[in-house]
């Protein structure tokens, strides 16, 4: 019983972190058709940024996290405008090469600045303890990750379904040319979506630092996991992404508890099985 509860709690927390990080990847792909392999760099930058602000300026955890998220979102803006938009109409190959290049540069930058070892992101006191739910004691940090994940999902659904920005985004996803003809400034929608996704990735990097520890090879190490979540979820569907993050998070966590040496094999096998069954992902529409 205790084992099952541990598996469930850890899986859900891990799934939420994956969800928050990979939203941006799904947005970039669905909205702009851009194959952005460098997305993990944003998550890493968020985590490292928060750790750095806490260490050098002695900021509190919350303040450092907020500042890091804002900083990454702000930096993503010119990155999209100056570089990504130039490659918008290029082939998949060029986009893959360009973003892999960014990954390498990002790894090198973080490695030179922070060293090869894992950089800890100290938690505030109220997140360090654990909560006793009578049948099971759960680390508070996991609960916080789940709460953040659900809040992000709700906020995202509201943003996409109820706001002007959401309407414009959905229009641009459906048909960018028609959207432009109707007076929607798609270039602005793109950069806003990109920046939002980068900021959320940074948030995921901060809240997920316990589960995905901060190290220079972060963007490469978790690249496949993030891509898998997006591919299995189906592009352009927040709910599909949520389901896929939970499914893959559960498979990997459960395998880690039960057959630790085979966990990656289980993860890849699940992913390949889903894609063999539904090439466009669980909730995706076939092209």
């Amino acid at each position: 019983m205790g084992l099952i509860a541990s598996i469930i709690i850890d899986s859900v927390a891990y799934g939420m972190v994956l969800f928050v990080i990979s939203i941006g990847l799904s947005i970039t792909l669905g909205l702009m058709g851009f194959v952005n392999l460098a997305h993990g760099v944003f998550a890493m930058a968020g985590g490292y940024g928060a750790a750095w602000l806490m260490r050098t300026y002695g900021w509190s955890y919350e303040l450092a996290a907020l500042a890091a998220v804002a900083l990454v979102a702000l930096l993503a803006w010119p990155l999209q405008r100056l570089l990504y938009s130039r490659l918008q109409d290029r082939s998949d190959l060029d986009q893959v090469l360009f973003t892999i290049g960014l990954v390498f540069v990002g790894i090198a930058g973080m490695g030179v600045m922070f060293g090869n070892a894992i950089t800890p992101l100290p938690l505030p006191e109220y997140l360090q303890g654990s909560v006793d739910l009578s049948f099971r004691v759960i680390p508070t940090q996991r609960i916080a990750a789940v709460v953040v994940g659900v809040l992000v999902l709700v906020a995202l659904m509201w943003l996409l379904e109820r706001t002007r920005f959401g309407i414009e985004t959905r229009a641009a996803v459906e048909d960018a040319d028609a959207a432009r003809a109707l007076g929607i400034r798609t270039a602005r929608v793109y950069v806003m979506g990109f920046s939002l996704g980068a900021g959320l990735a940074a948030l995921g990097g901060v809240i997920g630092a316990e589960l995905l520890p901060l190290e220079p090879y972060y963007p490469l190490k978790y690249l496949v996991v993030l891509l898998a979540v997006v591919a299995v979820g189906g592009v352009g569907s927040p709910l599909g992404l949520f389901a896929s993050a939970l499914l893959l998070g559960t498979v990997e966590t459960a395998a880690k508890y039960l057959v630790p040496s085979m966990s990656s094999i289980f993860f890849f096998a699940t992913m390949l099985a889903v894609l063999a069954w539904r090439p466009a992902g669980l909730f995706g529409r076939a092209h």
Partner: protein
């Protein structure tokens, strides 16, 4: 990617003309032999890397299949040839055939999944298959040696006469011969109707389908051929170095060969060879630099090539030559 890089030559080439590039490659290989007699191991690695890059060029440069997991075919070919040499026979050519078949099987099997999806999903599947195979190789210790790598590969003399010597001379000429032969085959393949169909699919998939080409079958075949050549490169590496490590299947290996190809120029066989040479020589002399700085160099090179130097080194050279010949006229 819009311009058609391969144009069919209507006139028939004479035998000498059609063998000229192979002769040139052989000469370049001999130059390499005399340029670094002390370091033939490195020279041999350049040749093997060149063959590996050629196989990627066929798949990616000509057929337009974007892959981040090409090391899967190389690694499986290497492991297959190594295990074959240990458990069955040390005959080098049989080992090459085993490597080729293993690479082709992995490619044909994974091709089913890779080729029916598009964009990010397709790239991710290539990556995932390579990682899955690396995991399997790392866990199946009894067969592959796991993290320690596969060792104890002993080869019979080449053609029954030439022992694989300590200096690596036999290994070098063996690798050079295989490279030149593969180059000759590939050069004919990419100019054949089969190769031109690949380029057609790369440029416009829908139109080729509308013309009656069975796109998926065609791509699966070319992917399997690319896998076979990558498998041969892996087998060569296993036979000559006599060890196979997990890094041969790793992501870094897939990324490096991609960088070599792009640096040299995709869609041109010379590009694959030139890129490998430049990349490996730079890497060899920069090996003392710490890994992060080296990573920065690779990343920056990729960004520069994608943003400013489409067509890579050979593309830039061709452009210079063309503008030069125009100004002379």
């Amino acid at each position: 990617m819009e311009q058609v890089l391969v144009t069919p030559k209507p006139r028939r080439l004479s035998l000498a003309g059609s063998l000229l590039p192979e002769g040139f490659l052989l000469l370049a290989g001999l130059l390499l032999f005399y340029a670094m007699p002390e370091d033939l191991g490195f020279a041999t690695r350049i040749l093997i890397g060149g063959l590996f890059a050629l196989s990627l060029d066929l798949v990616l440069g000509y057929a337009g299949i974007v892959t981040l997991g090409h090391a899967a075919m190389f690694g499986v070919g290497a492991y297959a040839a190594g295990i074959f040499a240990i458990q069955v026979s040390g005959e080098p050519f049989l080992g090459l055939a085993v490597g080729a078949v293993a690479g082709a099987i992995v490619a044909a099997g994974s091709g089913v999944l890779v080729l029916r999806s598009h964009g990010l999903t397709s790239v991710m599947i290539t990556l995932a298959i390579a990682q899955l195979l690396a995991e399997v190789a790392s866990k199946w210790r009894s067969l592959t040696g796991g993290d320690d790598g596969l060792s104890g590969i002993a080869m019979s003399p080449l053609l029954g006469r030439f022992e694989f010597d300590f200096l690596g001379q036999t290994g070098f000429f063996y690798a050079l011969t295989v490279l030149v032969l593969s180059f000759a085959v590939l050069r004919r393949l990419v100019r054949s109707p089969f190769g031109l169909t690949c380029v057609g699919i790369r440029e416009d998939r829908e139109r080729m389908a509308a013309l009656g080409c069975r796109v998926n079958r065609h791509l699966t075949i070319v992917y399997a051929i690319g896998g076979a050549i990558a498998g041969i490169a892996g087998a060569l590496s296993a036979q000559i170095t006599q060890v196979v490590g997990l890094t041969s299947l790793g992501f870094a290996h897939s990324a490096e060969v991609l960088v070599m190809l792009v640096l040299g120029g995709t869609g041109r066989l010379w590009g694959a060879l030139a890129g490998t040479l430049v990349f490996m020589v730079v890497h060899h002399f920069a090996a003392a630099v710490d890994p992060f700085r080296w990573m920065f160099v690779i990343g920056a090179l990729l960004l520069v090539v994608v943003l400013f130097m489409r067509g890579g080194i050979t593309g830039a050279l061709l452009m210079v030559m063309r503008s030069h010949s125009r100004s002379v006229k």
